[in-house]
Amino acid sequence: MLPEIGQVALVLALLVSLLQATLPLAGAQRGRTSWMSVARPAAFAQLLLVLCAFLVLTVSFVMQDFSVRYVAENSNSLLPVIYRYTAVWGSHEGSLLLWALILAGWTGAVAEFSRKLPDEVVARVLGVMGLVSVGFLSFLIFTSNPFARLLPAVAEGRDLNPLLQDPGMIIHPPMLYLGYVGFVVPFAFAVAALIDGRMDARWLRWTRPWTNVAWGFLTLGIAIGSWWAYYELGWGGWWFWDPVENASFMPWLVGAALLHSQAVTEKRGSFRGWTVLLAIAAFSLSLLGTFLVRSGVLTSVHAFAADPARGLFILIFLAIVVGGSLLLYALRAPRFEEGAPFAASSRETLLLANNLLLVSACGMVLLGTLYPLLADALDLGKISVGPPYFGFLFVLLMTPLVLLLPFGPLTRWQREQPSKPLAMLAPWAILALVLGAVAYFTAPQGPLKTAAGVAGSAWALLGTARFVWTRFKGNGRRFTPEMLGMTLAHTGIAVFLVGALLVEAQNTQRELPLAPGQTVEVGKYAFRFEGVEETQGPNYVSDLGHVQVLRDGKPVTLLHPEKRAYASGGQVMTEAGIHSGVFGDVYVALGEPLGAADDPDRANGAWAVRVHIKPFVRWIWLGAALMALGGFVTALDRRFRAKPVQAATTEQRA
C-alpha cells in the first residue's frame, strides 16, 4: 500500500511540475499575472509531493519492506538501522529520487526567498526549474521507478554495498547533490535573463549568494568524497582522476569561474554574456556528470547494468536542455548591454585570465575523461588516460593561476597602474621564494615538489594577507563578508597546496611481511605487528589486526586495520587503521595472510602489511573546507540583501 502512495506522489509531482514549467513561462511572455502566480504554489506543492515520495521510500527501507524491488536490492535484515536510512540513496533509483528531492528543495527555496523580485523574473526562473524537474521526474517514473514491486517478495534482501555502509557515505551524496543541483539556480536565472533580453545588477545581486552556496556545498561534497576514499578504500590515495570524480570536478571548476564572473557583472556590468554562458555551462556539466555516471557510457562505471534505454533518455534530456539554452544564448546574448570599458591593466583583465585558466582546466579534464571513448568510437584502439595526464596538465594550468592570485584583490577595477600591486607584493614574492629555497634544501625527499608547495602556498597566503592588511590600515574602510569570504577561500587554496604537494613529495610507504611480534621502522615511527584475531560485526566477520605505533620508543597509538567479509555478498573490504594528526597521518592496512593456502591457522600467522606515512594530508581537506566556508561567508554579505527601492536608485552602474 505504502509504496503505491509514493508512486502516486511522484506522478502528481510530475503533473505539478508540468504546470510549474508551462504556465509561468507563458504567462511571463504574455504578461498574464494569473498564470505567473501559479509558479510559487506549484513549486511548494512539488516539494511537498517529492518529499512525501522520499519519506515513503525511507520508511520502506527502515521497515525492511522487501516487496519493493529497490529495497530488496539494497538492504538486508542484518543491516544496521542507521544504514537503512542511507541505503535510500545507495543505488541508482534512490539516489535519483534524492536528486529530485534536492531539486525540489532548491525550487522551493527560490520560491520562498524571491519575494522582492519582479513577478516575470520569478515566473521565468521557477518555470525553467520546473522544466528541469519535469525531465528528472519523468526519468524517475518511466525508467527508474524506485517503487517497483518485487512480487512475490523475497525473504532476504541483497544488501547495501558494504562500501556504502560507512559514515562518510551518509553525508557525501547529499552534500554533492546540494552543490550539483544547486547550479540549477544560476542556470535558471541565466535562461530567464536570455528570454527577457536583460540582465541587471538586481538579478545578479540575487543570484550570487545562491551560486556561492551551491559551489560551497559542491566543494564540501567533493572533499568528503576524497576523504572517504582515503580512509575507506585502503590504499591511501585521495584523488585518482577517475571519470566519476572528474564528473563532479568539472562543474566545480566552471562554478568557480562563474562566481568570479558574476562578481564582475554585478559590480561593473561587464561580462554579462560570459556570466550567462558560464551559468549554462556549470549546470550542463552537472547534467553531463549525472548522465556519465548513470548511462554506462564510461567503462569505469560498472555498478549498474548498463541500460541503453536509461542512457538514451538522459542524453535526449541533456541535448534539449543544453542545446536549447545554448541556442537561446546564441540568439539573445548579443542583445545584452555592453559593460563599462576597462584598461588592459585592471582587475577585469585578471579575472578574465582567471576564468580562462579555470575553463581550460575543465576542458582538459573533459577531453581526458572522454578520450578513451572517442578513441574507441574512431577505432583507434583501447587506451587509458589517467593521473599522469590529468595531474601533469592540471598543475601546468593552475600554476599561472596561483601566481596571479594575490594580484586580483589588490588591483582596482577599470584601470590600475601595474607598479602599484607589484610594489605591494614584491617583498612577499621574494619571501615566498626564499621559503621555497629553504624547503628545497631541507626536504628529506622530493625536494622540487616540496619547494613548489611551500613557495606557492606561502605566496598565496602572504599575498592574501597583504590585501587584508591593506584594508585594515586604511581609515574607515570596511571589511565586508564578501572580502572575508574571498580571504578564506584564497587561504584555503594555500592550505590545499601544502597538503596536496607535500603529501605527494614526502609520503613514505612500505609493504612488508610481518609475523606477530615483529617490529619494523618506517620514517620516524616503529610499527609492532601484534597479530590478527577473528571478530564479528553486525553483518560481517572480520580479521582484526593490532599494530602498535611507536615514536622514539614511546607508544603513540594502537591501530586496528581490518579485513571484513560481509555476510550477504561475501565481499571483502579493507579497513585501514589511521592515526591522524595535524602534521600528518600514519596509515596501516592489512594485505593478505601469508601462510599456506590450506592452513586453517593461516590468519594467525604472518601477514603482508602496508604502512604509509602521509605528512600534511589533512591539509588537503582543511583547505577545501576553507574554500567552502569562503563561499558560504560571501553569501552572507549585506549587499545581496539590498531592498528593491534602494536597488532602483543604485541602478546607474548596471
Binding site: G273, F291, S295, G296, V297, L298, T299, H302, A305, A306, D307, P308, G311, L312, L315, L318, A319, V322, G323, L326, A330, P334, F336, E338, L370, L373, L374, D376, A377, G381, K382
Partner: protein, 190 residues
C-alpha cells in the same frame, strides 16, 4: 561586444560551437549504444597478427614431458585458458567439448595457476575435451600471452600466428559466428 567585427567573429564562434556540441552528442550516443556490449570490458589483444609467444610448458598429465611452441606448429590450434578455480570455465565447458568433438581443429587446454590435483580432478569430473593440457602453475608464461584471467581462448594458425582471441566464456554463437568462419578463411587461404 558591439565592435563592427563582432557579428562575424561570433558567427565563427557559433559554427564552431555548434559543430563541437553536435559532435559531442554523437559521441555520447555512440557510448550509450555500445554500453551494453558484453565484451566492452575485454582488452583487445595486441598479439593478433603476431607470432604466438614462445613457451616451454609441462603437460598436466605428465609433468616431466615439456611441450614447446615449435612443436605445435603445422596445423592451427585453439588454446583455451582455464582453471579449476574459475566458475565461468565450467559454464563454457560443454560448449567447448561439443566443439572439440567436431574435430574441426585441435583444442589445447592451458591450465592456469592451478594445483595439478585440483586440475586433474576437475577434468575427471567434467570431462577432458583437450588434445593435450599445458600446465602453467605460476602464471609466468601467461603474461607473455597477455592473459589476465580465465576463461580466455586463442586461435593460432598453422604458421604460429595468433589470429583471434576471446575473453570470457565462449558460447555457440561465438564459435559459429567468429571462430568457424575464421577457420574457413584460414583453410581457404592455404
Amino acid at each position: 561586444m558591439n565592435a563592427p567585427s563582432a557579428p562575424r567573429r561570433s558567427r565563427v564562434g557559433l559554427v564552431i560551437g555548434a559543430v563541437v556540441f553536435l559532435g559531442f552528442l554523437a559521441l555520447m550516443f555512440y557510448g550509450v549504444q555500445h554500453s551494453d556490449r558484453a565484451d566492452r570490458e575485454a582488452l583487445p589483444s595486441p598479439l593478433i597478427g603476431k607470432p604466438a609467444p614462445e613457451f616451454a610448458l609441462p603437460l598436466l598429465h605428465e609433468a616431466g614431458h615439456m611441450v614447446t611452441s615449435k612443436e605445435l606448429l603445422g596445423t592451427p590450434y585453439v588454446l583455451n585458458v582455464w582453471g579449476s578455480w574459475c566458475p565461468e570455465c565450467r559454464v563454457e565447458h560443454p560448449v567447448l567439448t561439443r566443439f572439440a568433438l567436431t574435430k574441426r581443429v585441435r583444442v589445447i587446454g592451458y591450465n592456469l595457476k592451478d594445483e595439478p590435483e585440483d586440475a586433474l580432478r576437475w577434468l575427471e569430473q567434467f570431462g577432458n575435451p583437450y588434445m593435450l593440457v599445458l600446465a602453467d602453475r605460476d602464471g609466468r608464461a601467461a603474461i607473455d600471452w597477455g592473459i589476465y584471467g580465465a576463461p580466455e581462448t586463442f586461435l593460432v594458425d598453422a604458421r604460429g600466428i595468433v589470429r583471434w582471441k576471446h575473453v570470457g566464456a565462449v558460447d555457440d554463437a561465438i564459435i559459429d559466428g567468429e571462430l568457424v568462419p575464421l577457420l574457413d578463411q584460414l583453410e581457404a587461404g592455404q
